[in-house]
């Protein structure tokens, strides 16, 4: 019954560095079903950033196939990939990447500006709804530099949700945050997961995998481990167990 969101077959990516060819990905295959919360782990140089770029339609593979929402992406042109990024993927970055001097609402509206199907009123409506989903209803008109790191990352998540993507692609999304705020963001991710969202979380931090439903580990451009997590920890419980702040 479940719907396949990602299907990749023998994905390879080589880079030419001077005379040498670097094999960043040496044949990776897996698929992700709708509603999964997958962490992709690996140390630096394992190929996880390369995989992230490919999954995010920012890059094209040297060889292999990639179906996103059952459409082949590997051979798409630059512009087609841009449209696909706009409609199918919600990015969350480590350093939030909000527009400076711009309100939360305007930041969340951004992806919809590149989709002419939405009117200005519809944009605003959807952006407000996304901000409510991440509990920032009272911060809508705050500018990015007036918010804390955790709040900025929530705005970024709202921006990722606003175009109803088939998956949220997070790149070290808790990397810049302290542990309390990290648990808050993970709690939000788990909430979204429980509502049926598909989440791919790329990280080098093994702790994060305890909160996801599945964990894929990369090393030297190959998958060395891919297993379901039977015992998912609750980020909310971790948050509650932390000593209360004054």
């Amino acid at each position: 019954m479940s719907n396949t969101i990602i299907e990749i077959k023998d994905l390879k990516r080589d880079f030419q560095v001077g005379e040498e060819t670097v094999h960043a990905l040496r044949g990776v295959s897996f698929s992700v079903q709708e509603g999964e919360f997958v962490t992709i782990m690996g140390t630096s140089g394992s190929g996880k950033s390369t995989l992230l770029n490919l999954l995010g339609c920012l890059d094209t593979p040297t060889d292999g196939e990639y179906f996103l929402d059952r459409k082949p992406v590997a051979k798409m042109s630059k512009n087609e990939r841009a449209i696909y990024r706009n409609r199918k993927i919600g990015f969350v970055f480590q350093s939030y990447n909000l527009l400076p001097k711009t309100t939360a609402l305007e930041n969340v509206e951004l992806p919809l500006l590149y989709n002419s199907e939405y009117s200005a009123a519809q944009r605003k409506e959807k952006a407000k709804k996304a901000l409510i989903d991440v509990s920032l209803e009272d911060r809508m008109l705050h500018k990015s530099q007036q918010m804390s790191g955790g709040q900025q990352q929530r705005v970024a998540i709202a921006r990722a949700l606003v175009n109803d993507p088939v998956m949220i692609l997070a790149d070290e999304a808790t990397g810049n945050l302290d542990s309390r705020t990290s648990y808050e963001i993970l709690t939000l991710m788990q909430e979204l997961h429980s509502k049926g969202r598909t989440i791919i979380f790329v990280t080098h931090n093994p702790e994060i995998s305890e909160f996801s439903s599945r964990n894929i580990v990369l090393r030297d451009g190959r998958i060395i481990e891919d297993k379901l997590n039977e015992n998912i920890k609750s980020a909310k419980q971790m948050l509650d167990s932390l000593p209360k702040e004054d």
Binding site: L58, P100, N115
Partner: protein
Amino acid sequence: MNLNNLISIALRALMNNKMRGFLTMLGIIIGVSSVIIMLAIGEGSKQSITGEISDMGSNMIMIQPNFNREGVSKGSSAMESLKIKDYKDIEMECQYLSGVSPYVTASGQLIYGSNNHPIRVEGGNEDYLDIRKYKIQDGVGFSESDIKNSAKVCIVGKTVVEKLFTNGEDPIGKIIRYNSIPFQIIGVLKSKGSSTFGQDQDDVLLAPYTTVQKRIVAIDHLHAIFASSLSEEYSTRAMNEITDVLKRNHKSEEGKEPDFYVESQEQILDQIKTITTFITTLLGSIAGISLLVGGIGIMNIMYVSVTERTKEIGLRMSVGARGRDILAQFLVEAIILSITGGLIGILFGSGVSFIIRLASGWAVTVSTFSVLLSFAVCTITGIFFGWYPAKKAANLDPIEAIRYE
């Protein structure tokens, strides 16, 4: 992406950097306003000079001795080449003329009571007033017998009246002395005001040419002959007739420069138009250079802006902006800067032109042409100088841009 979104994105980006935007625009503002002001001054002086020359009589023809033939000054005898016979023959034989007048002039001192005033007397016949577009305000013009009898009568301009009749007397009928010769005033000229060159056109004294010739300078030649053609379109034919008569009278050899030259007001007008057009072009080009510098300023800022906003561009691309969306955004930013700058420049330039007009009295005119020209140049500047930085932004690799620090 539609145009509305594009403009709102570009405006937001510009509003985030108001001071920089303004400084960038300043180049364009100065460029455009100087183009407008320079062209307005050029155009204005052209209009007032040509207007004035037409006022002097656009169908006027001047015949003067050519004492500078073949690049050599021929001495005083060459200045005496025009005779009474030449005038009489022109009057008799030329059919395209509405009037001909000899011209003899001298300078001297006018005295009335205890007032005196230095002046140049112009001697002509009864046609002279019409040819030179002088109009009588009070009194009468010269009669045929005044000319015939070398009558000691004169017509004066307003300035002369003001200088001599300081207690407000009626000048008509009064006797004034020119170099101790008594002249009776028979008419006062209508005021013409001062010329563009600052010359007072009311500071004149007219007398019969016979009087000036015999009683003042004691010569038998003429300093010049003035004529007017029936209308402007006959002036070339009239000039040819005059030239034929004079060549015959002066036994001019074919292929050699004659000892006189015939010039129409129209030719002078053309020459002056050429000069003023040249000046206007020159002023406009200099101002155009400042506009160019302003354009390069825009390119510079947009270029810096692309580097500075690499990460923003990467983000926009990751949420679905295509290369052409980024190109359009930066291009629209450049165009908004240059057009806004251009509009402010047009307003500022027109304002300054208006002030110059009030302060100097020149006919400074802002033409629609110069406004359209500046506006077009601004838009083109925006597109031209915005293109390269925008293209650079559009070609960024989103993977590298998003991780740019």
